[in-house]
């Protein structure tokens, strides 16, 4: 799956989980609201109606007594209105009943009020028949008892309603607690799901990118040989496969570069080999025949071939370093022997210039993991420069020191030295401290490149008129591994 749909799906999943959590929370909150509404819409009006009924019952007895004792028709009419209002309130209260206890009390109130009303009608008939004493007996007897039963039933109903209200409030509190628990749980689950999904996606992406980073770093260091694992159909998988193709192409380019330089090297050195051997044979014969003139010429041919070889080596080394086509074939090398080999190579030049070359070695183990040919070239280039810029009867001193995990080679001469202004760029290609046209100006750049390829450093100190000292340091630790 491509990256965009992956990210979209994870986002959609997160949104879906959050929506479910919000929906669930809304439902539980609605239940809580309903519970509180029930308290507000049933219990409160019921209690208000009960209060009003109690007041009506009390005033009915007072109005009845006054109408009976004073024989005043206004009190009788007022009793009638209050009775009608009581009937309405009773009907309204009927709509707010919930528990059986409330309903039973309600029925008792209805029956008591009805009985009381019948007693009052009987009283009025007796008063109309001038039997006031009989009417008064009913008023103080059965009528009063009926109204007291109604008041008692009202008290019972109020108690039942209060009990129902307390139950509703307890349920609302429990519901409130469970609602907040549910909301918190839903939020927790949705946040955990969202984080988990995002973390999984991020882990898979960064794992692939991490592998790619390692592979790129390995390729940059030139140590990667095989293709990296590029699974997945997303853009990172595509990137991995592109990387593998690029690495393969780079290896092919490296191989072609190697092949090219190998061919060039072969083609340039073969004729030089013939020239040198032929010149040396001719030199032998000329010397044997005592022909000094021919000996001189053939010596010049040989010396020129040697110089040309040195130039060819420098140019090839430099071009290879520049093209990064110089894989080092590093093996444990006795650097002391390598230095001696380079000195042997440069001895004819030193003898010709009458410059003394000495070697001193401090330490016992001069083994380093290095490419011998490259080290020879480093020493030959430094030694060649030292001899070239040292006047006759001067001296070049090489000092090889094994210092812990590194080897240090100093090449010190008693030559003309290097002007201070030329020192900073001395290892740059095509720079020649003395501005002479001799040489390629690549020797020290090659030295720096080859030493750098071995993980080492090279530095120079010089004093015009007194001489120069080049110090090469290379690590030797890997040789022991």
């Amino acid at each position: 799956m491509r990256l965009a749909p992956k990210i979209f799906l994870v986002s959609a999943l997160v949104i879906a989980v959050l929506s479910v959590a919000v929906g669930w929370s809304a439902l539980t909150v609605k239940r809580l609201v309903t519970a509180n509404q029930e308290i507000a819409t049933r219990s409160v009006p019921a209690m208000r109606l009960q209060g009003s009924l109690r007041e009506s019952v009390g005033s009915l007895v007072r109005l009845e007594t006054r109408a009976l004792v004073l024989r005043d028709q206004d009190y009788a009419a007022a009793w009638n209105r209050r009775t009608a209002r009581l009937a309405e309130e009773l009907t309204a209260l009927g709509a707010h009943l919930e528990t059986d206890a409330e309903r039973a009390a309600y029925r008792r109130i209805q029956s008591a009020v009805e009985e009381y009303r019948r007693h009052v009608e009987a009283e009025r008939r007796l008063v109309a028949g001038a039997q006031a004493a009989a009417a008064l007996r009913i008023a103080e007897g059965p009528a009063r008892e009926a109204i007291q039963r109604a008041e008692t039933a009202l008290d019972e109903m109020a108690a039942a309603t209060e009990a129902a209200l307390a139950g509703s409030q307890a349920r609302a509190r429990a519901l409130e607690e469970s609602t907040w628990r549910a909301v918190a749980m839903a939020l927790l689950i949705s946040v955990a799901t969202a984080l988990g999904a995002s973390a999984l996606l991020a882990y898979r992406m960064t794992r692939s990118l991490g592998r790619l980073t390692v592979a790129t770093a390995s390729l940059a260091e030139g140590s990667r040989t095989g293709p990296m694992a590029a699974e997945g159909r997303d853009e990172i998988g595509d990137l991995g496969r592109s990387f593998n193709r690029m690495a393969e192409r780079l290896r092919e380019v490296d191989r072609l570069k190697e092949e090219f330089f190998s061919q060039i090297s072969h083609d340039l050195r073969n004729p030089l080999a013939s020239i040198r051997l032929a010149a040396e044979i001719l030199l032998e014969r000329a010397r044997a025949a005592g022909d000094t003139r021919q000996a001189r010429f053939t010596y010049l041919i040989d010396a020129s071939a040697v110089r040309m070889l040195s130039l060819v080596n420098q140019i090839l080394d430099f071009t290879r370093l520049r093209a990064n086509a110089m894989p080092l074939d590093r093996r444990p090398v006795d650097v002391l022997k390598t230095v001696v080999r380079a000195m042997d190579e440069m001895r004819p030049l030193a003898e010709e210039k009458r410059v003394r070359v000495d070697l001193a070695a401090d330490g016992g183990d001069f083994t380093a993991l290095a490419e011998e040919g490259s080290l020879v070239r480093v020493v030959v280039n430094l030694l060649g420069n030292a001899i070239a810029f040292t006047p006759a009867s001067g001296a070049v001193t090489l000092r090889l020191t094994a210092d812990g995990h590194r080897l240090e080679l100093q090449v010190r001469d008693t030559g003309v030295g290097i002007p201070p202004e030329a020192l900073p760029g001395i290892f740059e290609p095509y720079r020649q401290a003395h501005g002479q046209a001799k040489g390629t100006g690549l020797g020290l750049a090659v030295v720096k490149g080859l030493v750098g390829a071995h993980g080492g450093t090279v530095r120079v100190e010089s004093e015009p008129g007194k001489g120069s000292c080049f110090t090469v340091t290379i690590p030797k630790v890997e040789a022991a591994a």
Binding site: E258, F261, S262, Q263, S265, H266, D267, L268, R269, N270, P271, L272, A273, S274, I275, R276, L277, A278, E280, I281, E284, A305, L309, M326, P327, D329, G373
Partner: protein, 133 residues
């Protein structure tokens, strides 16, 4: 002692004719017989016809290169019925020591990087011929 036992046969294998000529002149004398071959195919044909004590072989050549020539020679000499002669000593010459590194690492025969001084090749040939006698 018969004359032919003193004669030492050297085969120079290099696609550079000038180098073959110069080496022939440089190494001749002391009763040596020196032949030249322009590549490995020619060298193998010549080695099949007559024994050589020493082979100087370039590494990079058209058709059959130095390492292939060497491996073919070694394979042939595993069947002594057909090739009664012993395996000749070999000196490899190369214009670029950084090629064929795997092969060079595996062989114990000497390698000379071109161009090499006259005295070095002469000394090496003398030593190897003496060792193979």
């Amino acid at each position: 002692m018969p004359e032919e036992r003193l004669a030492r046969r050297i085969l120079i294998v290099d696609d550079d004719e000038a180098l073959r000529d110069v080496l022939t002149t440089a190494l001749s004398g002391e009763g040596r017989e020196i032949d030249g071959a322009s590549d490995g195919t020619v060298a193998l044909a010549m080695l099949e016809q007559q024994p050589y004590d020493l082979v100087l072989s370039d590494l990079r050549m058209p058709c059959v290169d130095g390492p292939t020539l060497y491996e073919t020679l070694r394979t042939r000499h595993r069947f002594p019925v057909r090739f009664a002669t012993k395996l000749p000593r070999v000196i490899f010459m190369t214009g670029n020591a950084s090629e064929h590194t795997e092969f060079l690492r595996g062989t114990t025969d000497p390698i000379l990087e071109k161009p090499f001084p006259l005295r070095v090749i002469r000394q090496m040939v003398t030593v190897l011929l003496a060792a193979s006698s």
